[in-house]
Subunit: 329 residues, 2 copies
Amino acid sequence: MREVAQLAGVAMSSVSRVLSGHPDVSVGMQSRVLAAVAELGYQPDLLAQSLRRQETMTIGFAVGDISNQLFAEIVASAETTLRTAGYSMLLTNSEASAELDAAHIRLLAQRRVDGIILSVGDEQNPDTLAALERLDVPVVILDRDVPMPGAVNVFSDHRRGMRQAVAHLLDLGHRDIAMINGQTLRPARERRAALEACYEERGLPPTYRFVDGTFSVEFGARAAGDLLSQEHPPTAIIAGGNQLMLGSLKVLRARGLRLGRDISFVGCDDIPVSELYDPPIAVVRRDTAAMGHSAAELMLALLAGEPVEDVTLPSEFVARASCGPVAKT
Amino acid sequence: MREVAQLAGVAMSSVSRVLSGHPDVSVGMQSRVLAAVAELGYQPDLLAQSLRRQETMTIGFAVGDISNQLFAEIVASAETTLRTAGYSMLLTNSEASAELDAAHIRLLAQRRVDGIILSVGDEQNPDTLAALERLDVPVVILDRDVPMPGAVNVFSDHRRGMRQAVAHLLDLGHRDIAMINGQTLRPARERRAALEACYEERGLPPTYRFVDGTFSVEFGARAAGDLLSQEHPPTAIIAGGNQLMLGSLKVLRARGLRLGRDISFVGCDDIPVSELYDPPIAVVRRDTAAMGHSAAELMLALLAGEPVEDVTLPSEFVARASCGPVAKT
DNA sequence: GTGAAAGCGCTAACAA
DNA sequence: TTGTTAGCGCTTTCAC
């Protein structure tokens, strides 16, 4: 910038003013500076600018597992929205580790990001909460019940879609429904509550069961295997998450069970395999692009100082052939 | 930091020395400073540090489509490796647009990243090449033939796996093989060359065909539909990429074709659906984690000033039931 | 071994 | 309208 000023024969502050669109600049000044900028191919140093302006135009996105299709889509969508508004995205992947969650929040704070979008793997981890406590930038939390005052949330309404799913199964005659869930996080709690509510509303005894573990393909497989090996296997299985669904399907398939006939199955999150599987798999679907977009929009609103409220996005049940009437034995 | 110095009753430079592990610090100084740091909960400002040290400890990753499973896995792996070495990752998603590719390279440069990992959607775009030209940081390019001197490459050896795939199909009696590809990028060229080479080696006339378009689910579906509607449809289809595979499968399935019997099919990239499809789908597979890891390692080596060479990672064919003997008509 | 001072590249008061 | 000056928070010579 010093060179530009020299070449144009003006002060550095004038160059700065021209480049940042200050109102009080003469046309002559503007053209001289711009000419010098063009000649030198000058590009301002965003780092120095950040230090001085005390804003980095950068949003930190701390995500549990970016290689999970669900998060990948959310991140992609959020990045587009943020970038359009002039922000860049610093991405950290915590590999589902609570320690890394906390470390990443601190790291992002040290890097002076203007805000943080967060999807943690443990809602209660004291270290994470402590790190959040000390934060003085806006925080948007994705589909988690993190007790942090001041944070804004983007929730999925898991209950709605799950109630439709369970109602569908009950209508088909299923009473022994098993639900496989990962960690105790908001989505799992909501899905569970929806299942329980459905039985209760219909005055049915609680003949469902839950299997809780980790949100992984491996656990999905193990849980499904365990369920099928029991004396009275369930007549329907609900997998609470795409990884769990993939694991479960492997096992169901290995055992030669025909979905919708031998056993009914419902997945969560509409990944490519659900539609292409034979038979196609009924799922509770949500709009990942909307989630990422909403999170980014909320962040932008917070940064602009606008009043914002939590957002809840819908989920919906997509009935497919993997659900059928309960098999006669 | 000023406060820390005051509280400890020492100069700021001493605080800096303690925190950056300078060798010449007395034990007394060290303990006093650390005590003050702990008391104030001080965390150094990485932004200011970057400006002064002229290094940001940040790597830019410009990717075409992070919501594509393949890239999501590569990014996840690269992020882990970089983070372990103390680097953060600035992610830009170009949505397969060449203009955005170039803009992102410039943006990352302005943000003074220490290096860029790149997966562009157009290898020849002059604007992208111009942006790369002006770069003065290390560049690692992912599986593209970008004419940029000084850049280091992580290639996939697509030919190896594809030759195995084509050999397999030829052994099964297929002669009329159609290959669907996206943009003319390195992977497409390599796969194409492998197909041609296989025929030539066996002294077979070139009775294969190519359909080129864009790397998308939509084009995969259209291409497959077109092929099947021809007077003499191919007896085997190879989809050059996971998105093309998904699109093709939708159409094949809608037409009620049984893979491995009515028509044979080979996909690329081993996404979940390939194994779970009925029948399971033969694919040319590559190790996405290794790609991300290698790219990050190369970057770290470049930053350390170590001599580095291009890396080529293998691909392999996984035979599955989607390939069968050519159907008698 | 420690402190004082200069400066990374930029912006924002303040003066002119 | 433009230039001069100070300083964002840190590191790093250079003296002592």
